[in-house]
């Protein structure tokens, strides 16, 4: 199993929880992109690099700044020896780590988000497809907000899931301190072709109608809450379904179960919710509401 292989390869090298790894892989297999929200120094870059390496994918990293232009991402045409030569930008990689996405201007952000959505970039009237699989890991620092351009909800909606790595426990930290270079000697355990085949497999994972009803019930519950200004979009629900399918496949199942829907919902919905200001001031949070929804809405299981 792919998940077990990757877990074995990364075990003891990267400060990573099993749940984070599972959700990251599921996001990749569902054809989505990941938003990592965490304070600096929790291993986001190392995780992205390690993931790209064990998956056998090409990797590049962009540090977003306010003066970064879209061409810095996508590439530019250079005049060389009488010809216009296209110089590819860092976006042409299979795993792209976008550090501090909210530091870039909305113009650059939207260029990236368009590439994420379409899987291609257009320069000087020419369309260039991005390599497959194309997986973006964007990070945001939730603490420092000065000089940033927070992503609007419509753009956050493009990210399938949002995760937080969190601080590792002491045991894992000790291990990390002993290990000088965690990426050294890290071997690929799969290739892009296998991942693309798995992406096709994800679409064939069965999601029972009752589970779709359950997903709708969760979404309706959230939309009806008075704290919520903007509830989950239809695209969000589609992505939750696809993410649940990928989670099921990673567990070796050809069908999704309520726990897959719940895990996918927990990862994919909070960053898409927009709460009312007064609710936020009163201490409500989108994560809290999602957790409450999962506790309140009955799961489709036999009732004794």
């Amino acid at each position: 199993m792919l998940l077990a292989r990757i877990h074995r390869a990364l075990s003891g090298r990267v400060l990573l929880k099993e749940e984070t790894l599972r959700l990251s892989l599921a996001t990749l297999l569902s054809g989505g992109h990941l938003l990592l929200e965490d304070v600096p120094g929790t291993g986001k870059t190392t995780f992205a690099k390690a993931l790209a390496r064990v998956l056998g994918l090409s990797f590049s990293r962009i540090q977003m700044t306010p003066d970064l232009l879209p061409q810095d991402l996508t590439g530019v045409y250079l005049y060389r020896e009488g010809n216009l030569v296209w110089q590819k930008g860092p976006i042409f990689a299979q795993v792209l780590l976008v550090d501090e996405l909210n530091r870039a201007t909305p113009r650059t952000q939207s260029a990236l988000l368009e590439a994420m959505g379409e899987g291609q970039v257009t320069l000087e009237g020419k369309t260039h497809p991005l390599p497959e699989p194309f997986f973006v890991l964007a990070t945001q620092n939730p603490v420092e907000e000065e000089g940033t351009y927070p992503l609007p909800v419509a753009q956050r909606d493009r990210f399938t899931a949002r995760l937080s790595l969190g601080y590792p426990d002491e045991k894992a930290l000790l291990l990390a301190l002993k290990e000088k270079n965690p990426l050294e000697g890290l071997e690929a355990v799969t290739q892009g072709e296998e991942l693309l085949a798995l992406r096709q497999e994800v679409r064939r994972v069965k999601v029972a109608e009752e589970l779709l009803d359950y997903l709708l019930a969760l979404s309706t519950w959230l939309r009806r809450r008075e704290e919520v200004r903007l509830g989950p979009s239809p695209r969000a629900l589609l992505q939750v379904e696809r993410l649940a399918q990928a989670l099921a496949l990673l567990q070796g199942r050809g069908f999704a179960v309520p726990e897959d829907i719940k895990e996918a919902f927990r990862a994919a919905i909070p960053h898409r919710l927009l709460l009312k200001l007064e609710a936020e001031l009163a201490g409500a949070s989108s994560e809290g509401l999602v957790v409450e929804a999962l506790k309140v809405v009955p799961a489709p299981v036999e009732r004794a």
Partner: protein, 440 residues
């Protein structure tokens, strides 16, 4: 030590009803015992059949009353047979007993009296003490029965109330002498307006009959076999057909009930009440009129309409069951699968999982409504020693059935084997006592 069976006491109790014995009633008691033994799932429907023997002795529709009475008594008796082990569920005995009036209440008291005796005998046996009683103890149920029956004779009837009739004109000769000595002048007689509560009470009494019908239908609701613990398990075709027959006869019976004021010979011109009619409390009591030919036809039509609705309802329930809703399955999943060999393997797996959930709930480990099967497994399996393996196995069989593909015979048998293990674990009082205490 085995408790003494109820039959001898019951036999004595039935002897007390000797004056009421009729051939249909005797056949019915015999049939009920027979049906309970060989068709325990829905034996109560047998209570409605022997009453049809009355049709041999009297013409239609007069035999319907005999049918209703016999069926009511047999239903009460059958209900008692089915629920005597569960004190609270004997509340179901009340609607038919009340409907039967003094006779029903007498039978109810009698049966409960004997039930008390049997309970005392069982407890004495459990304590290892001899159950000493004298012959006079047998008077306890009889007295109880008589007491209950006496309640039905209490003068609870309200004093005669005038019917809410529209003000009518009556002709009366003018006391004054007019232009001609033979001229008659019509004028309304001064009428005493009844107080407003009388009209309200009349309306309430008029509503009493449909309300009673509704209550009876509600009491019949368990006949659909919704509750696992109830004595009815109407999951077969025969009970459905019998339900239709019973409903039809019952509605016809209601249509022929007497008790109103209009006699066949009464004519519209009788609007001027005679003094004897005015003073008769019978006339003032509201109630269904005795139906004549047109009325009977109307009752038949409404009975047909209601039957149609009932049939549709039963059909929907039947279809719902066919989808394998496990909430309506009989008590033991393993037994159920043996009793219903036509059940699909996936239904058997789901039923087994449902039974396991139910057993664990009884053991103080209920599944939360929002919990998925895997979350539940992770939460409860460490709590009960030995539970992890069978619950893990059963959940592993349940998940693909419920959310994925199908199960074969082998999976169904394995699920039932896991269920047996779980039931055994849950039935061990020592292992589940802490959860029961915690949940209470």
């Amino acid at each position: 030590m085995r408790p003494v069976p109820l039959t001898p006491f019951l036999g004595l109790g039935l002897l007390a009803l000797l004056p009421l014995w009729t051939p249909p009633l005797a056949v019915g008691v015999f049939l009920l015992h027979l049906a309970k033994r060989f068709y325990g799932g829905a034996f109560l429907w047998g209570a409605f059949l022997p009453g049809l023997l009355h049709a041999l002795a009297s013409p239609f529709p007069s035999w319907l009353q005999g049918w209703a009475l016999t069926s009511g008594l047999l239903l009460l008796y059958g209900l008692f047979l089915a629920t005597k082990a569960r004190p609270l569920s004997s509340l179901f005995l009340l609607p038919p007993a009340l409907w039967l009036g003094p006779l029903g209440l007498f039978l109810l008291g009698l049966l409960h009296g004997f039930s008390l005796l049997e309970e005392a005998h069982r407890r004495a046996q459990e304590r290892g003490e001899p159950f000493r009683t004298s012959a006079s103890t047998l008077w306890v149920p009889r007295i109880l029965g008589l007491l209950l029956a006496g309640l039905a004779f209490l003068p609870l009837r309200l004093p005669a109330l005038p019917l809410p009739t529209p003000p009518s004109l009556s002709l009366q000769a003018s006391p004054e002498t007019g232009p001609g000595p033979k001229e008659v002048v019509a004028y309304p007689t001064p009428e005493e307006k009844p107080p407003p509560w009388v009209a309200f009470l009349n309306r309430a009494l008029a509503l009493a009959e449909p309300l009673a019908l509704l209550l009876i239908l509600l009491a019949l609701w368990p006949l659909l076999g919704r509750g696992e613990r109830l004595p009815y398990r109407g999951v077969h075709l025969l009970p459905l057909l019998l339900a239709l027959l019973v409903a039809g006869l019952f509605l016809l019976y209601l249509g022929t009930l007497g008790g109103g004021e209009s006699a066949p010979e009464s004519t519209p011109s009788a609007s001027v009440p005679t003094p004897s009619q005015e003073n008769s409390p019978q006339e003032a009591l509201p109630g269904p009129r005795r139906l004549r030919e047109a009325g009977l036809a109307l009752a038949g039509l409404s009975a047909l309409f209601t039957l149609g609705l009932l049939f549709l309802f039963l059909f929907l329930v039947w279809r719902y069951r066919e989808r394998g809703r496990p909430g309506t399955t009989p008590k033991e999943g393993v037994q159920a699968s043996q009793a219903l060999p036509e059940a699909l393997p996936q239904d058997r797996v789901r039923r087994a999982y449902f039974q396991a959930l139910k057993a664990l709930k009884r053991a103080g480990l209920p599944r939360q409504a929002s919990e998925g099967p895997l979350e539940y497994l992770e939460r409860v399996s460490p709590l009960l020693p030995g539970l992890r393996e069978p619950l893990w196995g059963l959940t592993g069989l349940y998940l693909p059935v419920r959310y994925g593909g199908k199960a074969g015979e082998e999976e169904a048998e394995r699920a039932e084997a896991f269920l047996k293990d779980i039931l055994r674990l849950c039935s061990s009082p020592a292992s589940t006592e802490p959860f029961r205490a915690g949940s209470s």
